[in-house]
């Protein structure tokens, strides 16, 4: 009995050992990068992500390309646009509403179909042509608002496409970074698989888009393979990616929505994920002491007070605006935020093509600030009362209460008596489009809504032109001057890249000099990663390129 049992036992042990070795070896072979996002849900995966720029970062750029892409390869310079699926582009010499884009040959979608001019037209139609079969209302908002002037597209030949705008607009190539190219052939195939019982064409199209989100097909370096709504999304490397320099080094990326900062931090510390976005600031010391790496870099993000220029606002006086900008020691605030901010010199930093070298320097100069306030008629005995509208939380707001209370204290040194009006985030946000003086502004002289400055319209124009006065856009304070309208118009109608950048730099120079904002901080996009993750390049951008990253084997 004993002798019979022994070989069976041995064979069983060998089989188990073999199975274990095979499994272990397979696991060791696959390099998986697990990411804890701040979003509460997987950003939409069909090509036009929601969830703000975090969506573009994780389910846009990795799986799709635009005609124009962002250069995310540098840490020490501004992130600028580069050719993506278009090799080159130029505006029509006679009709500045028309642009011709030459497309990259030989690019294929993940489903194997060819990328060409017809695909570009189809992707423009998906958000702009309400009569197109594949028009998807749910993609319109997040896309069209970021390319407000694009009207239509027309294929000239297989690799040339003409885009038409409403008005001459030199920002179109920048705007096009937000239009990702999804596969028309794959969508058509999925449409064919919608049950015949669904007869309404709109319902069929919606069903095809829902299916598309589960099995996305773009041209990007990663291919989406598995979606568990609200829980995880998996992408695998596209080994055939057209840009050989950006072929992924990791095999699989897993995205997990972890909206709570402490939960994200715990997930990193316990080894459940390899990378978390925006760790809790007070956990940074613990994270680094446990051998994890923090990555930060100045983002095109502005944390400001946007001043009111309505009658009665003390900020109508330029000396008061300058004094506020000179009165605060931003390095002190940086210490308070555990180093998780960058000290601003304007909306754009020196070295950026749109910097413009302003004559007014944003720095800490208490003596000058006090002198300016005295000249404006204020003193310790006669302080100026200002009310600031802010929120207790909100997207991009960093730590609004802590930061505003710090500002309140700091500005006391310069005879500002600051009253903070804290409202619900949506209410503050909506008031941004209602303007100072509206009932929702609650009598505030400044509002505290942070913004992205990736694009010149969203970074500058919408705050300083009459066209952008509420309710049209976000010139909340009604900063209205002919000079600025003219500078903005010049930038928008200058079509050579260098000339457009010069015009934008001239605009930025004047914005800093006139100081319609109190520039307080730039966010630095903090992310913490396991030391096993290598090749991380954190650019000065809201985005990051996952293809440069590798992961060392380990527990």
């Amino acid at each position: 009995m004993r002798t019979m049992f022994r070989p069976v036992l041995l064979a069983g042990a060998l089989a188990i050992a073999g199975a274990l070795m095979t499994t272990t070896s397979l696991m060791a072979q696959e390099k998986v990068l697990r990411i804890g996002m701040t979003a509460a849900d997987i950003p939409r995966t069909h090509g036009q992500p929601d969830q703000g720029f975090e969506g573009n970062r994780f389910t846009g750029i990795p799986m799709y390309d635009g005609l124009v892409n962002w250069d995310l390869s540098k840490t020490d310079g501004p992130s600028v646009i580069i050719p993506g699926l278009a090799l080159s582009w130029e505006v029509d010499a006679t009709d500045k509403n028309k642009w011709v884009f030459k497309l990259r040959p030989g690019v294929k979608f993940h489903d194997g179909s060819a990328f060409n001019a017809a695909a570009v037209v189809w992707n423009v139609q998906k958000v702009l042509d309400q009569n197109a079969a594949h028009f998807d209302q749910s993609q319109v908002g997040v896309t069209v608002s970021r390319m407000p002037n694009l009207l239509s597209a027309r294929a000239i030949d297989d690799l040339t496409v003409e885009l038409t705008t409403r008005n001459p607009d030199s920002f179109l190539p920048i705007n096009l970074t937000n239009l990702f190219m999804a596969s028309p052939a794959h969508w058509q195939k999925l449409l064919g698989e919608v049950p015949a019982s669904v007869t309404d064409p709109k319902a069929r199209a919606a069903a095809a888009w829902t299916a598309f989100a589960g099995t996305p097909s773009g041209t990007g370096p990663f291919r989406g393979v598995r979606l568990v709504p609200r829980e995880r999304f998996e992408m695998v490397a596209n080994k055939e990616y057209w840009d050989t320099a950006r072929r992924p080094k990791v095999d699989r990326v897993v995205l997990l929505p972890l909206p709570e900062a402490n939960a994200r931090t715990a997930a990193l510390l316990s080894g459940q994920v390899d990378w978390i976005e925006a760790p809790a600031p007070d956990a940074v010391a613990q994270i680094t002491s446990r051998g994890f790496k923090m990555y930060t870099n100045a983002q095109p993000h502005v944390w400001p007070w946007q001043f009111s220029f309505r009658e009665g606002s003390p900020f109508v006086d330029r000396r008061v605006r300058h004094a506020a900008n000179l009165c605060i020691n931003r390095d002190e605030l940086k210490t308070l935020l555990s180093g998780l901010m960058e000290v601003p010199r304007g909306t754009y930093p020196p070295g950026h093509p749109w910097w413009g070298n302003p004559t007014f320097e944003i720095k800490y100069d208490l003596a000058t600030a006090r002198r300016l306030m005295t000249e404006a008629g204020y003193s310790a005995q006669r302080p100026v009362n200002v009310k600031v509208l802010t929120s207790a939380s909100g997207s991009g707001q960093m730590q609004p209460i802590v930061m505003n209370e710090w500002l309140q204290q700091a500005l006391k040194e310069c005879f500002f008596n600051v009253e903070l009006e804290v409202a619900e985030w949506n209410a503050v946000f909506n008031n941004w489009r209602e303007g100072a003086g509206s009932p929702g502004s609650r009598g505030a002289n400044a509002t505290n809504v942070t913004f992205s400055a990736m694009d010149p319209f969203f970074g500058m124009m919408r705050f300083v032109t009459r066209q952008a006065n509420p309710p049209a856009s976000n010139n909340w304070g009604f900063f209205n001057f002919d000079e600025f309208d003219q500078l903005a118009a010049t930038a928008r109608s200058t079509f050579d890249d260098a000339g457009r950048d010069r015009a934008l730099a001239a605009l930025h120079k004047r914005i800093v000099e006139e100081a319609p904002f109190l520039w307080v901080a730039h966010d630095v996009g903090p992310r913490a990663m396991s030391a096993r993750v290598t090749g991380v390049v954190q650019p000065r951008s809201w985005f990051i390129d996952i293809t440069t990253m590798d992961i060392r084997p380990g527990s």
């Binding site: 804890g36 509460a40 849900d41 939409r44 929601d50 703000g52 209302q137 749910s138 319109v140 908002g141 997040v142 069209v144 608002s145 970021r146 407000p148 919606a206 888009w209 829902t210 989100a213 568990v228 709504p229 609200r230 829980e231 995880r232 997990l256 929505p257 972890l258 909206p259 709570e260 402490n262 939960a263 931090t265 715990a266 997930a267 510390l269 316990s270 080894g271 459940q272 619900e424 949506n426 209410a427 946000f429 909506n430 941004w432 489009r433 969203f458 919408r462 309710p471 049209a472 856009s473 976000n474």
Partner: protein, 317 residues
């Protein structure tokens, strides 16, 4: 009994109508833009109007409400604005996950609640009573999200024994009753069980103490009944009240906990509600609240019926 059941079913109709009106009104009264998840703040007014029309938010409230009710009766809770997915499928997936969590938390909470309650009530004013009472008071008083964070710090971040987030290594879609998945359940379930444990323990203790002080207990003793037999009578007398309390607690647990599910990123109804609130996803918010409210109504109905079956005095009254 059938007449009683029929009456109770009829009573639920106005409750359900009231619940649906409150659901609809609450989410529309709250400030904010219903299109915030699909329309960035910098969108033009023209685009905003186009989207409002496309999603039907330009219609009068009563029209929106009636349309929503009509679809809900047919099982269609609409489509999530943010994700484009059917609300019914989103809610059902979340309900399944919350149910899993609630059942485990219920088991832990009720087991320890009943244990502490009976022991403390039976041995009142003894050291065991004091220890059990302290534990139940802590259970009721401690903020459970704080407890969740502390458990995560100890068992995940420091000891690395249990995962702090998620419903399993492959997500809830692949949930299986094995250790790899069960370990994801432990921390949220323990955290969730603390409040019902405390409430059940305190209620049962008071109840048992009250029953033991009634005249029939010395009478039973005088007739020579064993302590176990007397305990059986105490349990029988305590059962209707205990059931009512446990039913309500189960209702709360099935409703999910926004805080606990957010702390542990557990993909249940609380997590869904949290996302819906922050994204101002009105169809999702309305659908989730409605389903949860109906759960509560249904659970109360079941508890009432079971209570009546156990204690005929309720039916008579």
């Amino acid at each position: 009994m059938l007449i009683y059941l029929g009456k109770r079913l009829v009573y639920t109709i106005p409750i359900v109508i009231g619940v649906s009106i409150v659901c609809f009104a609450l989410v529309h009264i709250a400030p904010g833009d219903p299109l915030v998840s699909v329309l960035p703040p910098d969108a033009s007014e023209q685009l905003k109007q186009q989207m409002m029309k496309a999603y039907g938010f330009d219609r009068p409230y009563y029209e929106q409400f009636l349309l929503w009710c009509w679809r809900a009766i047919q099982g269609d809770l609409g489509t999530s604005i943010a994700t484009g997915r059917a609300v019914a499928s989103e809610v059902m997936r979340a309900v399944r996950n919350t149910l899993l969590l609630a059942v485990v938390a219920t088991f832990i909470g009720f087991f320890f609640g009943l244990l502490f309650g009976f022991v403390a009530g039976y041995f009142r004013n003894s050291a065991i009573d004091k220890i059990a009472s302290i534990l139940s008071v802590i259970g009721v008083s401690v903020p459970h999200y704080w407890l969740g964070m502390v458990l995560v710090i100890i068992f995940s971040a420091q000891l690395n024994w249990l995962p702090p987030t998620g419903a399993g290594p492959g997500g809830s879609a692949e949930w299986r009753p094995d250790w790899a998945h069960f370990r994801h359940l432990i921390l949220p379930a323990v955290t969730m069980s603390v409040i019902p444990m405390g409430i059940v323990a305190r209620t049962i203790r008071a109840l048992v103490a009250d029953i033991l002080s009634q005249d029939f207990v010395p009478a039973l003793r005088a007739k020579g009944l064993s302590e176990l037999g007397i305990f059986g009578h105490v349990v029988k007398n305590a059962a209707p009240t205990a059931l009512a309390v446990m039913g309500l607690q189960l209702g709360y647990l099935l409703g999910g906990s926004i805080l606990i599910e957010t702390v542990f990123s557990w993909p249940g109804t609380g997590f869904l509600l949290n996302a819906a609130i922050f994204q101002r996803d009105l169809p999702l918010l309305q659908g989730t609240i409605l389903v949860l409210a109906l759960f509560f109504v249904l659970l109360n109905l079941i508890v009432d019926v079971v209570q009546t079956a156990i204690d005929p005095r309720i039916q008579r009254s």
